[in-house]
């Protein structure tokens, strides 16, 4: 009985204990805080390239009935139908027929759309009441005289109703067709004003997903819009080449969040920096790429997938002679829209290149574009280093809000900068692209515009020289940053420096966040901008300069004598072409500046992520790799995950960091508050980790060009280089094997060493 009693007691104790333990376990419920496997949901987004559907051969959907062969060479034949003003292009290499829509009007296009879809030329104009109208070459209201030469067509166009006339040409050259409209042939006589011109807007158009293929647009690094079922979107792709013209286009931020959080929540969309677009019918089968050679300053790339306006997929460029703008009547900004008085003085010239087989894809287009660039004078070769460069942007001094007046905080002085370099050197990172920002008197946003003086809290000129010596002795490069393009109200005398837009207001960007130190930043008059650059180049002739904003901003100015966009471009190019023994680094520069760029900062890595965009492709990177050293955006601003590292390797972009010696919370109450995390020591380990991974891959392809970029499997990429090396990357959570190469999960593999 006693044993039973003991047994009972023990059992009771055990039961109680287990209840207690259980309860405790319940209370301290342990969560696992691990990042979930996001590889699949990530690589399916339009931030990555999707695998091509290698399917059946694309059969011809168009025929040549009703067309006459007019001109031809070894590669292309041009067939024409004068009644419809439409053409067919036969690629002799593949027998593929390019054209617009059929010769019978389809039901799903109205008359106006059908005329535009089938004509090789469509113009838009403002009528007497400034309403926008459209007329296509096939219209009876247009008198046209075709005169066919050996391998070209000259066409004299006259529109009696609008008292307008001009001449355009279509010429055949090797593997391309060139459309051109010289400006001196354009004559306006009536009250109507020409607005814009399209050449062959529907070339290669398809309906929904009748065939496999995609549209290519240079949105950021490049974007694909794959053909699919019709879906409704509010608007198609429409982006001005070289970005908006801030002198004319509205620069308002959207409202509509209706919340306590400010409305400036959108991440800046990347802009179009190359005048190129294209279309692919069947991956690695048929494609064309259009390169705009003249008139790109006023051209807008338009891409529409079925569901937007029509049921057709089409891509084109619109060349604007005029655009309407808000003519303000009152100070509060109300006014009316009216077209510009004078038209833009621009010749238009665009060439469509036809590609087949392995060239018929975004990768082939990029390689082709690089060839074209080289032929037209783009001659740069990448500096070949043993180890890849690391870009380190150091913040020197910045102003801080204070009582009675702003005061200055030194984020990194010269001694601290030396220490930072020392730490990196200790870790074996010597090839630095060292960029000093905020070295000027009163820091990044406090310095007077146009002044070139060193901030004594950061260091004396001699210290800067010494630092330069240290960086360069290690094999690095040393840049001082200047922002010649924008300034806040305290940095400039607005009347003297700020650019004025066509509505006669100061041209400025405004952010709606009221807690910012400076909500407005003013664009500088192009003449003053060039002055400042010139002054800096003479006064700082021993330093290399990184010019913020210069590469990406192109705008007209109406402050005095009107400067058009092209004038501004010429001014900038003139200044940069002046001989000087000095390197210039630019941030995401437009194509016309590439020849004058020694280093390319802030390479875009993702497109705008419109819902109709299906892929991001490294078009820019394929064009530039092997020519210019280019760097990814700051990794410590949200670009440091394993996928980001892989993307840097895939795109051949070198890592960048923005850093300072001061603590992060020092950023509070400064204009740099958006940087949120820049302390060097905090990021030291990440810098090493990112650099080492990227270096391990990219050091093998220093100076080499990308010959092909291909998605082998979902999330598995092969990048082939001209020196025979293939880099395989795997974004998946599990190992993958392709071409007999095993690529580790979330890793890469280099073959051909």
């Amino acid at each position: 009985v006693r044993y039973i009693k003991y047994a009972f007691l023990i059992a009771l104790a055990v039961a109680l204990l287990s209840i207690v333990v259980d309860a405790a376990g319940y209370r301290n419920k342990k969560y696992e805080f691990t990042v979930p496997d996001t590889s699949l949901v990530e690589i399916n987004t339009n931030r990555y390239t999707q695998p091509d559907n290698i399917g059946d051969k694309i059969e011809n959907r168009l025929d040549l009935e009703g067309f006459q062969k007019k001109i031809e060479n070894q590669i292309l034949e041009i067939w024409f139908n004068e009644k419809l003003a439409t053409l067919r292009i036969v690629d002799k290499r593949s027998g593929y027929i390019w054209g617009f829509v059929g010769t019978d009007k389809p039901d799903n296009l109205n008359k106006s759309w059908y005329a535009m879809a089938n004509s090789i030329l469509t113009i838009e104009y403002y009528d007497k009441k400034n309403a926008e109208k459209r007329i296509s070459l096939s219209s009876k209201d247009i008198e046209k005289q075709y005169s066919w030469q050996d391998n070209s067509l000259d066409c004299q166009v006259k529109i009696p109703d609008l008292s307008m006339e001009f001449k355009f040409t279509m010429a055949l050259s090797n593997d391309g067709i060139t459309f051109a409209l010289p400006i001196d042939s354009l004559k306006e006589g009536g009250k109507e004003k020409i607005k814009s011109v399209y050449f062959a807007p529907f070339l290669g158009t398809t309906q929904e997903d009748e065939i496999d293929g995609y549209i290519f647009v240079p949105d950021g690094p490049g974007a694909l819009i794959r053909f699919g079922k019709a879906q409704s979107y509010t608007s198609g792709f429409s982006k001005k080449i070289y970005g908006l013209d801030m002198g004319i286009d509205a620069l308002e931020a959207p409202s509509g969040l209706m919340s306590s959080r400010s409305d400036d929540y959108l991440v800046d969309e990347p802009q179009v920096t190359v005048p190129v677009f294209g279309m692919v019918h069947g991956a690695y089968q048929n494609a064309y790429m259009a390169v705009i050679e003249n008139g790109e300053d006023y051209a807008t790339i338009l891409a529409n997938v079925s569901g937007i306006q029509t049921n057709y997929n089409w891509v084109t460029a619109r060349y604007d002679y005029r655009q309407s703008y808000m003519h303000t009547v009152t100070k509060s900004g109300t006014g009316i829209y009216k077209p510009q008085e004078d038209y833009n003085q621009q010749d238009i010239k665009v060439t469509y290149y036809f590609l087949t087989k392995e060239d018929a894809g975004y990768s082939g287009m990029a390689v082709k574009y690089r060839d074209i660039m080289e032929k037209t004078g783009f001659a740069k070769t990448e500096r070949v280093d043993k180890e890849i460069p690391l870009r380190l942007n150091i913040i020197g001094a910045e102003i801080k809000k204070g009582f009675l007046k702003n005061y200055l905080t030194a984020f990194t002085d010269i001694d601290e900068a030396v220490e930072i370099i020392g730490q990196l050197e200790k870790a074996g990172i010597n090839n630095l692209t060292f960029v000093y920002e905020g070295w000027q008197k009163k820091g990044v946003n406090g310095s007077k515009y146009g002044e070139v003086r060193f901030e004594s809290k950061v260091g004396k000129k001699k210290d800067f020289d010494d630092l330069k010596g240290i960086v360069e002795a290690n094999g690095g490069r040393y840049y001082l940053t200047i922002n010649p393009v924008t300034a806040n109200e305290d940095q400039i005398n607005k009347a003297a420096y700020a650019s004025v837009n066509i509505s006669k207001n100061y041209t400025k960007f405004t952010r709606t966040d009221k807690t910012l130190m400076y909500q407005e930043s003013f664009l500088i008059k192009p003449s003053e901008m060039v002055n400042y650059i010139g002054k800096s180049r003479t006064k700082l002739s021993s330093y290399d300069l990184s010019l913020k904003g210069l590469g990406i901003r192109l705008y007209s100015d109406y402050s005095g004598k009107t400067l058009s966009r092209s004038d501004t471009k010429d001014l900038i190019l003139q200044e940069l072409k002046k001989p000087a023994n000095q390197n210039i680094a630019l941030y995401n520069p437009n194509q016309y500046l590439w020849n004058d760029t020694t280093e390319y900062f802030d390479m875009p890595m993702v497109n705008s992520q419109y819902l109709y965009e299906t892929d991001t492709v490294p078009f820019l990177q394929i064009v530039l790799k092997g020519s210019i050293d280019y760097y990814a955006p700051y990794a410590n601003q949200g670009f440091y995950t394993q996928n980001s590292i892989l993307k840097m390797i895939e795109y051949g972009a070198y890592p960048s960091f923005i850093a300072a010696a001061a603590d992060n919370y020092e950023l509070e109450d400064t204009p740099l508050v958006d940087l949120y995390s820049i302390n060097f020591n905090d990021w030291y380990d990440t810098i090493l980790q990112v650099y080492r991974q990227v270096n391990e891959a990219l050091k093998h392809v220093e100076g080499a060009c990308i010959t092909e970029h291909k998605i082998v499997l979902q999330g598995v990429v092969r990048v082939s280089y001209s020196n025979g090396i293939n880099i395989y990357l795997n974004y998946n959570q599990e190992d993958k094997k392709v071409d007999d190469v095993l690529i580790p999960a979330k890793g890469y593999c280099i073959e051909g060493r």
Binding site: V35, E252, S255, L257, Y265, T328, S521, I552, N588, F639
Partner: protein, 689 residues
């Protein structure tokens, strides 16, 4: 109305969105925000990144709710009167409820597989089995408990593990409707309380019950949507429907718009009513770690921790372009087992998924570790977080708390100061001060005792050495300059106010110059008192205040008072001259001028526990000054008490009128300028074009 117009206009125009400051290649299309140490919105590292878009082009029609159970998404496809069941991992799609449902608005799937559908058009809640058969239909309750005037228009439904059914309907002013397992109405739950204005409070005091009933019907704000946690607690969001577009006013509503209800229906999320919330929430989803996500129809998603602190805010509205991660009209939000967030866009009929980044996971980890008293681990996590954003309030607070709980008060104090957390800072300071006192109390006592002893010893000795001890020099001596004497006369007002005012009136004491110096001194003291108090008692940060505004706050009332009082008294048989009023007022502020510096010093020594002393002393000095001003008026103008009171009231009225007049003039002037501008602009336009 103006606001609406602006929204429509901006939606129609093709707007360029450009920010010149930083070029960033972010994965996300909209920034993630958090609350900065200054209590303002601030951008931070991406916490959630838009992933895939699901069901785009599938053919949903005005869907209004989604619910996720075991990683399967159930969608109330309102326009098509059906339920769509979608598996995002396999892309399998099936539908349910065709022919039964009319206008499904809300959906809930129980652990036992039953599907609860709130049907708005059919005015009932359907309980469906796994394969779509109707098991029960809950219609408008017949119960006397159910509000007579209400219709039964259910918009969402949730069910507890114990099968209690909670239904929220259109205009749920009375609260959430509660049904038992059999579908019988049990009563209302967790209603919002109506806000009472000051006027209504007064009316309540004066009016009879009958009058009150006739006068106004206060309807509390309706609950918009609900969600249920793992522990069967209910989250609710409330919209300020009555206030609609003017969100600024809504923001000032005293009640929080996000609530977590306990069994009694009380809000246990944030009891201090100071949440960072929005007026236009449409849905809420309980998270995995006692957190929750609230969604506005403009596509903004706020994440809160278990105490109602804002962790992140992300998402946004697709205004002029359709980019992933932005919404045209967001309708519903839910979370799956991986912590992926799914948001339903009703207008565009698709589901946008967001996945958490390392930063988000780290933040959740830190908050959870702190909550479960895991200080050492939590400390490391907070340090990591501070590396990623050095200005996040939640991070500094969290880190400070772990340090505080580990009794590292000095470090903790630093972070609480950065995070502007006065309560915890005060606690830390108390601890440090306490330790300091404990450490030095012996020394201090010894020094005091020694000093006393010295004094005792000195007295006899000193008398022998300096037989004629002099009185304090400055006050009594005739050699001191007149100005200094005049200024120091201020101390006389403390002891003999009436005599002193008399002397001022007679012109014997105090000059315009001395008074001016006193005004200036008082202003400096006033400014320091406003801006440079010790951290614990400082309510305005000097860097955000312009000196002009402080000057205006001090000098304009002084100026108006002196002028007004002189003018009023001169028509009311007052004897005082302008000089006397000017000088008298300066001296009358004596108690404040003298006491405020000492209070200022105290703010650096005392903690919130002793706040009473500071407040008391401050108000006392102020009250004393007011009394002195009043006495001054009586004396200077030779008024009786009644006359003086009348004078004061009229003067105050004059001051109010003067300020109003200036404001009106200012506004009218602006209008006139604007009108002229428009006219000239219009004329030049017509003339020139």
């Amino acid at each position: 109305m103006k606001y609406i117009k602006r929204i429509v206009v901006s939606a129609l125009l093709f707007l360029a969105v450009l920010y010149p400051n930083q070029v960033q290649a972010r994965e996300s299309t909209a920034y993630t925000y958090t609350i900065s140490v200054d209590g303002e919105w601030i951008r931070t590292q991406d916490a959630y990144i838009p992933g895939q878009v699901y069901l785009k082009g599938f053919g949903l029609s005005k869907p209004s709710d989604l619910f996720i159970k075991d990683n399967i998404i159930y969608i109330a496809d309102t326009g098509n009167s059906r339920i769509v069941i979608f598996n995002p991992r396999t892309d399998e799609i099936s539908t349910l409820g065709e022919g039964i449902l009319k206008g499904p608005r809300g959906i809930y799937v129980h652990d036992n597989g039953q599907i609860y559908v709130a049907d708005y058009d059919e005015e009932c809640v359907f309980v469906l089995s796994r394969n779509g058969a109707v098991k029960m239909k809950i219609s408008r309750p017949d119960s006397y408990l159910f509000s007579e005037n209400s219709r039964f228009k259910p918009t969402n439904v949730v069910v507890t593990a114990g099968n209690i059914i909670y239904v929220v309907g259109e205009g749920s002013y009375e609260g959430i409707m509660q049904f038992n397992e059999e579908g019988e109405f049990q009563g209302y739950y967790a209603a919002n309380t109506a806000r009472i204005t000051l006027l209504e409070k007064i009316q309540e005091l004066i009016f009879t019950q009958e009058q009150l009933n006739r006068l106004f019907k206060r309807t509390p704000r309706a609950i918009q949507n609900i969600d249920i946690t793992e522990n069967d607690l209910l989250y609710s969001v409330t919209q300020d429907a009555g206030i609609s577009f003017s969100w600024r006013e809504a923001q000032e509503s005293e009640d929080n718009n996000v609530k977590l209800h306990n069994l009694a229906g009380q809000d246990i999320l944030n009891t201090s009513n100071d949440m960072v919330d929005e007026w236009n929430f449409v849905d809420i989803a309980a998270g995995q770690y006692d957190n929750c996500y609230a969604l506005t129809y403009t596509g903004l998603i706020n994440e809160y921790d278990s105490e109602g602190n804002l962790i992140f805010s992300f998402g946004g509205r697709a205004v002029s372009s359709e980019r992933s991660g932005l919404f045209t009209y967001a309708a519903a939000i839910d979370i799956d087992n991986d912590g992926f967030i799914y948001v339903l866009d009703s207008e565009r009929a698709f589901i946008q998924m967001f996945y958490p980044t390392e930063y988000a996971v780290l933040t959740h980890k830190a908050i959870s570790q702190l909550k479960s008293a895991n200080y050492t681990e939590s400390e490391a996590t907070w340090v990591d977080l501070l590396k990623l954003n050095g200005m996040s309030r939640i991070a500094h607070n969290g880190y400070g708390k772990t340090l505080y709980l580990q009794q590292n008060y000095k470090e903790a104090m630093k972070h609480f100061k950065i995070a502007n957390n006065k309560a915890y800072y005060s606690e830390c300071f108390w601890e440090i001060r306490d330790a300091w006192i404990n450490k030095y109390i012996g020394t201090i006592l010894i020094i005091l005792a020694a000093a006393y002893l010295c004094r005792m010893l000195w007295k006899p000795v000193g008398k022998k050495i300096f037989p004629k001890r002099k009185e304090p020099k400055i006050l009594k001596t005739h050699k001191a300059p007149k100005l200094l004497k005049d200024i120091l006369y201020i101390f006389n007002f403390i002891r003999h106010p009436i005599d002193s005012f008399y002397n001022v009136k007679k012109g014997e004491k105090g000059t315009v110059l001395s008074a001016s110096i006193l005004y200036l001194a008082t202003f400096v003291i006033f400014m320091c008192d406003r801006l440079f108090r010790g951290f614990i008692f400082n309510h305005t940060s000097a860097k955000d205040v312009s000196i002009l505004s402080v000057m205006a706050l001090f000098f304009i009332p002084c100026f108006l008072w002196v002028i007004g009082n002189y003018m009023v008294s001169s028509i009311n048989e007052g004897e005082g001259k302008l000089r006397a009023v000017y000088v008298g007022t300066a001296y009358a502020m004596a108690p404040y001028t003298i006491a405020a510096p000492f209070i200022l010093i105290l703010t650096y020594i005392l903690t919130l526990n002793e706040a009473f002393y500071i407040n008391f002393a401050w108000y006392l000095s102020l009250a004393w000054s007011v009394v002195l001003i009043f006495l001054g008026i009586m004396e200077i103008h030779n008024y009786t008490f009644k006359e003086a009171l009348k004078n004061v009231l009229i003067t105050i009225f004059f001051m109010a009128m003067a300020i109003t007049a200036f404001a009106v003039l200012y506004i009218i002037w602006g209008q006139v300028v604007d009108f002229l501008n428009q006219l000239i602009g219009e004329v030049t336009y017509r003339a020139l074009y």
